[in-house]
Amino acid sequence: MVSFIDVINRAWTGPYYSEKDYNLKVFVPKLREIVKKYKIKCDPENVVPCDDDLADRIFKAGVELYASVGTYCVDTQRIIQFTEAEIREALAGAPSAPVFGEGKDAKALVARKPESNTAPWCFLGACGVAVSSEEIFVSIVQGYGEIPLADSITAPSLATLNGTAVQAGSPLEILACIKSVVLLREALEKAGRPGLPVMNSIATAVSDQGKIAGSQFGLRPSDGWLIGPMAEMKVNFERLNEIAYVTSLGGHVVVDASPMLGGYCGGPEGAAVTAVAYHVQAILVFRGSCHDSFPIHLRTSCSTDRATLWVINASSQGITRNSHFPLFNISIIGSGPETEMEFYENAACVIGTVVSGSAGVESPGGAKNAVTDHVSPMISKWTAEVAHAVPGMKRDEANEIVKRLLLKYEGNIDNPPQGKRYQDCYNIKTLEPSSRYVELYEKAKEELTGYGLNFKF
């Protein structure tokens, strides 16, 4: 595979374009041409497609797109380009079962195929949502660690340090990143699972300095170091600096990428093709161990409307049928903790992605991941239980269930209930959810059982 040093060299020597010209004269016209050429069409009535030919066309289109548009480096204003042969070589040589974690919590993240019978990996956690204090941070991470189905956790970001608000790019960011890692390890020890991998490294980090400095205080090469591009198909030196550091440690880069429906990708068809291009980029530029895809809708800022669900499922099927490089998905949900809607929204995403062959599912925060403390272990437990109930299901069966779920929440998608803060729906000392929250969980579980979901946990 093309070496990382060669990637950096190409960032200095590739074709020069202004960022606007890259967006509008390179990326957009090529994507539109390719969507047309491969006759890709979204069907919002069937959000879990069951069409292998469509899936394969989306994959081919994504590979062709990446071979044409490459990755734009915003610092040099040049395109890092690869030939189709280099892309094929990278796909063939990509990792297929990276091992994360330590000791008895070490486990391989294994690529799956659509309708696979194997259970997916469960990335449970806060998905980077900000929490307001160190006390909440430890309580909530311990809560994730205590969920038996957790294969790994994702940490929250720390919004304050000793009561002082953390400002990105300031020394406070560095201090908060260090504190986050120390607290993560403390919380996972309290949970009795010190070897559990943390898959979003330091969510508090905005800068490369924050991530690298914080990591010295307890992050391990066996954790997942989350590093992602900018929309669409762009990278900057800060992210490349992080990759240089992590790969030199022998660590795992977890590449998160979010094609934006309604943005430069255009409609759902373009977003699905772009998701595949990101998959290839994750291997070649980001030197990833796995790819975390979370297509998102520009208007709702979440992933649970019909069009975005189609994008997630169609692109995931394209990727998992044609690549052994592990893919997983996050569902960004609009609703927040202790609401009925969060169970439905989340289940709609999880069912679709698991049946579409994703190697794993990541539990969401809440309230579009945008509101401090609006996150809870309950939705993570739910994510895992739903994910384990899906293997073996057929895509058309999953499609019917997801359609029923959509009817439950799509009317509220433009104005979803934000729900409660963690400390208002959980006892942060005993880590017990409120009785109302338990009631909502049990009701949703009963309802989904009625829809045909065979819960094993």
Binding site: L24, S157, A168, G262, S301
Partner: protein, 219 residues
């Protein structure tokens, strides 16, 4: 071509995102000594209104919005000298300086707001991403801005919005500028807490808020 036909051509050029057509119609208008301001109002701006509505309904997407804006600007390059030669100017709703807060590299949302503000008749100075508080202030002074808009997508960059307001108070310039805030973690509560003048949950709402602020200022 009569003037109504030229206005129609200008309108269609925007709606069809056709720069060549826009340039031809603009040149035709100048050649025919037709009032260029009328061409702006009855052709170009009317077209941008339609583009804004279609984007709001998701019938078109971000690239179409930006490209329509570029067509508008290209036609204006032809019409503006003619407008100035007649001793007139395009009525401007106000001047806004906007960007994404220090440390934050997310700018698609801010780009959409910038484009819709231009469409609505604002003079927009887009400072891009990762903009320091000092730069916001410096550029606002330079542009003689009415409004400073600060976008942030992260909880830890949201503080840049508060930082700007605090600085304006500290140097005695809080009354000189109106400050608007936006972005994922921002909210009306946050805007109230830090003393911002306006907040918009969507790009369209941000434009309505900006228009209200300007009309309040003028009143």
């Amino acid at each position: 071509m009569n003037k109504e036909a030229i206005f129609e051509e200008l309108f269609r050029a925007i709606v069809e995102v056709d720069e060549e057509k826009a340039m031809e119609a603009a040149n035709e208008l100048v050649k025919g000594k037709i009032d260029p301001l009328e061409g702006v109002n009855k052709g170009l701006s009317k077209g941008m209104d339609v583009i804004g509505e279609r984007f709001e309904k998701f019938e078109i997407y971000l690239p179409d919005l930006i490209m329509a804006g570029d067509v508008f600007n290209a036609a204006m390059e032809v019409l503006e000298p003619e407008i100035m030669a007649r001793g007139k100017s395009v009525a401007k709703k106000g001047t806004i300086v906007l960007g994404t807060a220090k440390g934050d590299i997310h700018e698609i949302g801010k780009d959409i707001v910038a484009m819709l503000l231009k469409t609505a008749g604002f003079e927009v100075h887009d400072l891009g991403k990762d903009v320091s508080t000092a730069t916001f202030l410096q550029e606002a002074e330079k542009a003689k801005a009415d409004i400073i808009g600060v976008s942030a997508l992260l909880t830890t960059t949201l503080l840049g919005q508060k930082d700007l307001i605090d600085l304006l108070k500290e140097i005695g310039k809080r009354d000189r500028y109106m400050v608007m805030v936006g972005g994922g973690p921002a909210s009306q509560d946050w805007a109230d807490k830090i003393g911002a003048d306006g907040y918009g949950v969507t790009a369209k709402e941000a434009v309505s808020v900006a228009l209200k602020l300007i009309s309040k200022k003028g009143a």
